[in-house]
Structure formats: structure tokens, C-alpha cells
Amino acid sequence: MKKFGGKVLFLDRNDINTDEIIPAKYLTEITKESLKPYCLEDLNLKGFDRERDLPGKEVIISRSNFGCGSSREHAPWVLELNGINVVIAESFARIFRQNMFNSGLLAIELPGRDINKLFEKYAQTGASVSIDLDRFVLTVKGASASDIFAFKLDPFDAELVKSGGWLEYADKKY
């Protein structure tokens, strides 16, 4: 199983939608790889500069209802192509969350108070996150502090991540 975690990109807003993650005009691309340069191109977030903020990041931490809107799986794909393998948020839109697990990526929900703490304590510290999928805990490390948070994964979603995705799972079983 692949390793999850890394340096964090903090996106401090609710309801970041999949049109912002990958605008519809790029959905005419046939290969996943060609989506890579357009990640978060239409993100409506003050102070965000994708050329400065995105490179080298492997984890996104955001607020509630992340990934709402269009069903496009291009959204998790473009995140993965840019190195992101985990999104941590207070909540996700259903289709986006399913698309993450179906693609073998992690979508982790934490309670609002934990998300608040992550933003307050770690947003400006060049933080990184490591994920332990055996114990279901994530560790965040900033410049001078660290914290551990327990999280829950739906057993079926956890199974998908272990199998490498839904197609692999379904193909074996059905």
C-alpha cells in the first residue's frame, strides 16, 4: 500500500468546489496527465498563489463541504498529479469523497474543533502530516509543535484504499 502524508497546503474556506479545482474547459483532455498544469486554477481564495503555494505539497487541509459541485473525478486526479494524496476537511461532498477513495486516495474528516486547531496552530508553520492507517491516527508537525488526531474511516472506504481502488475491488469480487 502506498504511503500517505507530507507537506500541507492550507485552504481556509468552506465549499471549495470541483470547478475551482479543475475548470470545466479542461475536461476535454483525454489523458489525465494533461490536466496537471490547471490544478486549482479558478480557486477563489484571497492570498492564494498556486505557483507559489502548490509545489511540494502532498496534503490539503480545508474546511467544510470540500469538493462540492460537479462529479468530475478529474478533481482528485489533478490533485494527485500535483502530488496531493490526502485531503483533510471538516466534511466532503459525497461524490468527491467517493472519487478520492475510488482512486486510492484519502479523504479524512475531522471535527470542526480539530480543523480549527490545525488552522490556528499550524497554518503558518510549514507543517507536515503523517498518516498511520493501521491505527487511524494522523500526526501533524509544525516548526515547534506537534499534535496527534484520531480519525475514522468507513470500513468499506478503508478496504478500497487497501485494494488500490474500487475497480480492482469490484473486478475481483463481482
Binding site: 465549499d15 468546489n17 470547478d19 475551482e20 475548470p23 470545466a24 474547459k25 475536461l27 476535454t28 483532455e29 483525454i30 489523458t31 489525465k32 479558478d42 477563489n44 467544510s64 463541504n65 462540492c68 459541485g69 460537479s70 462529479s71 468530475r72 473525478e73 478529474h74 482528485p76 466534511s91 466532503f92 461532498a93 459525497r94 461524490i95 467517493q98 472519487n99 475510488n102 482512486s103 468507513d154 470500513p155 468499506f156 478496504e159 481502488g165 474500487w166 475497480l167 469490484a170 473486478d171 469480487k173 463481482y174
Partner: protein, 428 residues
């Protein structure tokens, strides 16, 4: 303990239950379009699994960019065409016969009460109007659906909406759903089925019910759903008349797909909509909604009437009532995109297309086009569009553009005035 309509559909389609909450459902039909399917096809080919679970249960349309606007969209169409041919998929709708997926598939009678439906498109929730469980999915779910005819869902928790009162004249299903979304928020129904009931829904046409269910996903809903009734039977009759000796017989069978009285809901929300006014969005989220009155005078550059939300005949009829014998304001670009060839033809026959053309509208072929900023009316930065579509996201109809969602009647009135305004149909 009784079961909701969605629970009954789940129980009837259950193939496997690997965990308590995880239901693997058998699918009655899988819908496909040219934006999300080609990547799935290419992946299946690469895996040596270029097969479909049942060619008769897969329905395909080219709708998002049609006719193709460049080499890339031409390639997407070609992949879909070749695949449909290779796999003997008969129901494939191409140029001349194609329309917006969530308008054309119901029109062909492909959705029936009690069905399970998926599509790689978030507005698949539209088909819940027929008493089906219909959900948008991503490309991987679509791929598995195509290959195996199954999809995984959590057991459906339902929010029941009981809508009562008489809608005032000039207030439509679009105003109702915008109002509901404004009350519960853009994640107010996440992971929930939105079950629409009550006298207002009972009185609605299938077109209006589709408008209602279409925007369930804008509140995060997995599917919208309405109970099948005689309106449903009448709509489907041309497709089912050989299977039933009478409409009453069909209704009797469909009545199995209604929630039991003692069903358990996650929440029941009652709205008295007798005093509802025409509604419009003002921001970049579908729950940012005001009364049209409060937005009166907001200038627009373009008016767009069409889409899977409001591009059906009933929508064109309502807009035409307002446009008849009038001209749209100087400098306003009006675009009408009838959702299907049948809508287009019927509108032509009834003189509706002429009313739009005389008013100064450009009439396009059926396509999703401008709704998601793909073609046929993309906005420039700083431009404002009054639109009958479903999403007002930042950049949705073009980078830097602003979209105000509203009903076709409000959009028509706005085109005449050149700024957001109530329709003359509304006397409130």
C-alpha cells in the same frame, strides 16, 4: 417499521453488503456522455476489459460540446462513438438526435419508478423525479457500472420535504428549489436523499419535478426523489402502454414505490410556499439566494435559457408568454438552447421559437454549452449572466463572470428590461 421509497429501491437491488452500511446495488441503467466516459473507456481498454455488462442497459449521448468545437472535443466524440459501436450499444444519440442528457433520457422513457441509475454527471439526481434512485458518480464508479452493472452506496438516509400551499402565479419549481437550498445550505443534504412530497409536488408536471430534483445536488443531496403517481404514468405511457392493460394498472404497480407512512426519516421539513416569490442567486454559491425584488435593477450582459434544469418545453412556454410581441433590451445578448430535438421541434410547431427569434434571441442547438463555460455563450471577465442553469460557481460560465440563477420567466423578463426584474406573471 416502514421503509422509505429509497430504502425499498435499495432492498430490491441489493447484490452484496460487505459492511453494515455499504450496499452494492445492481443497476437498472447506466447513462454516459462524452465528457466523463472517454477516460473510463480508455482505462477499460488499457486493462483489456473493453466490455459492457449489458448493451441494452447503457444509454449514451453526446451533449456537453455538440457539435464538436475543436480537435479535442471531436476526439471525445469519436472515442464514445467507436466504443458504442464496438459494444453494440443501440441507444446512442449523436448530432441531429442528441440533447442534454437529463432531458433526453427521460424523454425516451429510459427512467422508470423503482430504478437504480448512475451517470458520470452530478445532475443525475434529476431522474429521481420518476421515483428512481438516481445518483451522479465519478469516472471510476461509472467504469465499474459499465463493466459490472453495480455501484456502491451507503444505505440512504432521507430528508423528507413536505411542500404545501399554492404557488402564486409566476412562481415555479426553480423558485421552490432555490428557496429550499437557501434554507438548508449547500451541504444541508450531504449524503442524504431529498424526498419531495406534498400538494405542491403532487400538482407539478414531470418537467417541474425534474427541475426540483435536478438541483438536489446543489444542497449536497445524493438524489432527489418524488413519488410516482398518475402524472408519472401519463408521461411514460407511450413507452409502457404495451406492458399494462390500463393506466390504472400501471399506477397500481408503481405505487409500490412510495414511502410507507411509518418510514423513519433523518429529518422532516415542512414549507408553506403559498407566499413564495420569484427567487434569484446573488453570489458564487447556490444557497446565496434572495427574492428577485431585492435584486431588482442589477444589470446583466447576457440571458441564457436552457440546460438540464430549465431547457424543457414547459420552460420555453413560460418564457415565451413574457417575450411575446416584445424585444429584449438593447445590448443584451439573449441565448435560447432548447434541451432536446423534441423540445426544439415542439417549440417550433407551437410558434415559440419564432417568439424568441422575434424578441432578439439567438437559438442554439440542444447542448450543455454555456452552462459550464464550454461553448455557445461563455462569459468574459466582469460580465454578468441571468441564467436558468444550476450553478453560479466562480468562473462557471467563463473566468471572472458572474451568474445569477433564476426561473425561465424571470430570465425572460430580465432580458426585456436589461436588468434583473420580476416577471409580469408574478403579481405578488
Amino acid at each position: 417499521m416502514g421503509r422509505t421509497i429509497s430504502e425499498k429501491i435499495f432492498d430490491a437491488h441489493l447484490l452484496d453488503r460487505p459492511f453494515e452500511e455499504s450496499f452494492i446495488l445492481k443497476l437498472d441503467t447506466v447513462f454516459c456522455h462524452e465528457i466523463t466516459t472517454p477516460v473510463a473507456i480508455n482505462d477499460l481498454v488499457a486493462r483489456g476489459k473493453d466490455r459492457v455488462f449489458d448493451p441494452d442497459r447503457i444509454k449514451v449521448v453526446i451533449d456537453h460540446v455538440s457539435p464538436a468545437k475543436d480537435s479535442k472535443t471531436a476526439e471525445q466524440g469519436k472515442i464514445l462513438r467507436d466504443w458504442a459501436r464496438r459494444n453494440s450499444i443501440k441507444d446512442f444519440f449523436d448530432i441531429g438526435y442528441n440533447g442534454v442528457c437529463h432531458a433526453i433520457f427521460p424523454e425516451k422513457g429510459f427512467v422508470r419508478p423503482g430504478y437504480t441509475v448512475i451517470m458520470g454527471d452530478s445532475h443525475t439526481c434529476t431522474h429521481g423525479a420518476f421515483g428512481a434512485f438516481a445518483a451522479g458518480v465519478g469516472t471510476t464508479d461509472l467504469e465499474v457500472g459499465i463493466l459490472k452493472g453495480v455501484c456502491a452506496f451507503k444505505y440512504p438516509k432521507t430528508i423528507k420535504f413536505y411542500l404545501k400551499g399554492n404557488l402564486p402565479e409566476g412562481v415555479f419549481a426553480k423558485d421552490v428549489i432555490l428557496y429550499i437550498i437557501s434554507q438548508i445550505g449547500v451541504n444541508g443534504a450531504t449524503d442524504r436523499v431529498m424526498e419531495f412530497t406534498g400538494p405542491i409536488v403532487d400538482a407539478m408536471s414531470m418537467e417541474s419535478r425534474m427541475t426540483l430534483c435536478n438541483m438536489a445536488v446543489e444542497a449536497g443531496g445524493t438524489s432527489g426523489i418524488c413519488y410516482p403517481d398518475m402524472t408519472t404514468v401519463e408521461y411514460l405511457w407511450e413507452f409502457i402502454k404495451d406492458s399494462y392493460s390500463s393506466k390504472e394498472k400501471a399506477l397500481a404497480e408503481y405505487s409500490g414505490w412510495i414511502s410507507d407512512i411509518d418510514s423513519v426519516y433523518q429529518k422532516i421539513i415542512e414549507f408553506d410556499l403559498g407566499g413564495l416569490e420569484p427567487m434569484v442567486t446573488y453570489g458564487y454559491k447556490p444557497d446565496q439566494v434572495k427574492k428577485v425584488r431585492e435584486m431588482e435593477g442589477t444589470p446583466v450582459d447576457q440571458v441564457y435559457i436552457g440546460s438540464c434544469t430549465n431547457g424543457r418545453l414547459e420552460d420555453l412556454v413560460e418564457a415565451a408568454k413574457i417575450l411575446k410581441g416584445r424585444k429584449i433590451a438593447k445590448g443584451i445578448r439573449g441565448i435560447l438552447s432548447p434541451a432536446t430535438p423534441r423540445v426544439y421541434r415542439e417549440a417550433l410547431k407551437q410558434g415559440i421559437i419564432e417568439i424568441f427569434a422575434d424578441a432578439g434571441f439567438c437559438i442554439t442547438n440542444p447542448t450543455c454549452g454555456a452552462c459550464l463555460g464550454m461553448s455557445n455563450g461563455v462569459l468574459a471577465s466582469g460580465e454578468v449572466c441571468a441564467s436558468t442553469t444550476n450553478r453560479n460557481f466562480y468562473g462557471r460560465m467563463g473566468k471572472g463572470g458572474m451568474v445569477h440563477l433564476m426561473s425561465p420567466a424571470t430570465a425572460a423578463a430580465t432580458a426585456l428590461k436589461g436588468s434583473i426584474t420580476n416577471s409580469p406573471l408574478f403579481m405578488g
